[in-house]
Symmetry: C2
Subunit: 309 residues, 2 copies
Amino acid sequence: LNHATLRAMAAADSDVWPAIDRAAHLRKDIDALEADLRAEGSLLLPVWRDQSLIDGERLAALDLARARALLDVGGELVWLGKLGAAGCFALDVSALPEPLQHPALAQRGEFKDLRFVGGALPAEQAAVALYARGILYWHRRHAHCGACGGTTAAREGGHVRVCRAEACATQHFPRTDPAVIVLVHDGDDCLLGRQRTWPKTMYSTLAGFVEPGETLEQAVAREVEEESGVRVAVDDVRYFRSQPWPFPSSLMVGFTARAQGRELRASDELEDARWFSRAQLRDPRAHGFYVPGRFSLAGQLIEAFLAQP
Amino acid sequence: LNHATLRAMAAADSDVWPAIDRAAHLRKDIDALEADLRAEGSLLLPVWRDQSLIDGERLAALDLARARALLDVGGELVWLGKLGAAGCFALDVSALPEPLQHPALAQRGEFKDLRFVGGALPAEQAAVALYARGILYWHRRHAHCGACGGTTAAREGGHVRVCRAEACATQHFPRTDPAVIVLVHDGDDCLLGRQRTWPKTMYSTLAGFVEPGETLEQAVAREVEEESGVRVAVDDVRYFRSQPWPFPSSLMVGFTARAQGRELRASDELEDARWFSRAQLRDPRAHGFYVPGRFSLAGQLIEAFLAQP
């Protein structure tokens, strides 16, 4: 890919993006980042209050040269890496009260929550959008130093924040919270639950954050028992796959686990948990519930369960 | 297990600890935590400047009733959960300049770094010690609110910190940084590297932190290429197992990956990277290098590689 290709891509024609190259070795190279900031083909991904700029079913990437006025909004600017030969930046434009009235943003799309529209984007676009959203959220939550309370400043293209207090100078790195998500199975059935805050007929696989001092497998066993009363053996927990889930800052690590029993116990964490058969899961609507789609690991875990004999 | 058993255990006789029950539903139950704090069988794990109290090859757990004076040191106290029927607390005693001169600590062991002695402890003791060290480090790094800079206060037995500024009141949860560690293999050889800061003849599997917006598998492929120039396909990355590694706050997620080529490239991150044959790995000393032991995932990955045909 060269600049012309990328400019065309940014302009609208192609949905096929390369995978982003984070090129971490360039982050300390201020000259390289400055050059990308000035280069004509550079791309800008604006994020407004955790929402991404979406144009139909595409992520809108602005030509930075034409959208330069957005830098004056004063939001954090992060150098994400290279998309082909082009530098790619994320910019927080949350300070704008009406972002779509800004000349650089008007007519370029709408700000939407990736949680709901990410599944409609081409995969590489969704990946970059998740990266942009996740790292800008981290910046917002770390304007101050957790150790001393002083203000922090972004360094290295936005991949570290450093406490400005000379006596402290603590470095802070982007935060990602590992969480486990698990499909518990017993023969032809699997265990799904629902939180109080969810839509009334939605059920999903069980999930929870990993705590300090535990393995992923221990977190799976603990969460399943906390949420449902069902026990699974740590040795019976099988890795599935992983997915960044920056809503606001999780990394979901997916597992399957064989139940040691079927008895369910009410918990504080879930409003309900139930066993569902493959027949029910193949036509949830007919059975009065629904499950997450394929954009989430939950949906992928259920799909994989249904694909088994 | 009952109180008497646990007191005996704490006193010295048994190395067999139950797995800790984090019993998260009790964390908001102040009465339950207060009761544990007063109960005669409760156990206290002191941590001094990230070091754990070790008595020979055992983790020293103090009888809280007899060690109550340590609470006056003013360090963070965290309710870890239940060990059998006994409440188990971690206490930061870093404020003591000479901890072993404190009457409650004298003659009870020595403060040591788990990174070096954890492998000698019984597994359940090591797990609790890692948990205690990890969560107390997090408290120290989060005395202030990252969002507004105000001071924070521990709540829920030390499993959340809340900003004291009423207008902010942001909740902060313990931080765990997911990192990947990978044994890259090509036939009878595997790829190990060394960082500049390590002992001169030590080699280990490649590792690095997961960044916002990437899967674990993408992090593996990125880190391997950054550190060695070797490419691995994301689809060729296989999960191994996971391990908490609170030095200071990582969760190591282990993988193996098949190399797509053998050519190595110098990197900023490693001083050296090389291919090692199984024959070399079976007798590293004879070949002038050494590798980590079985306490770490690196050592376990190498052991599993050697066990393959």
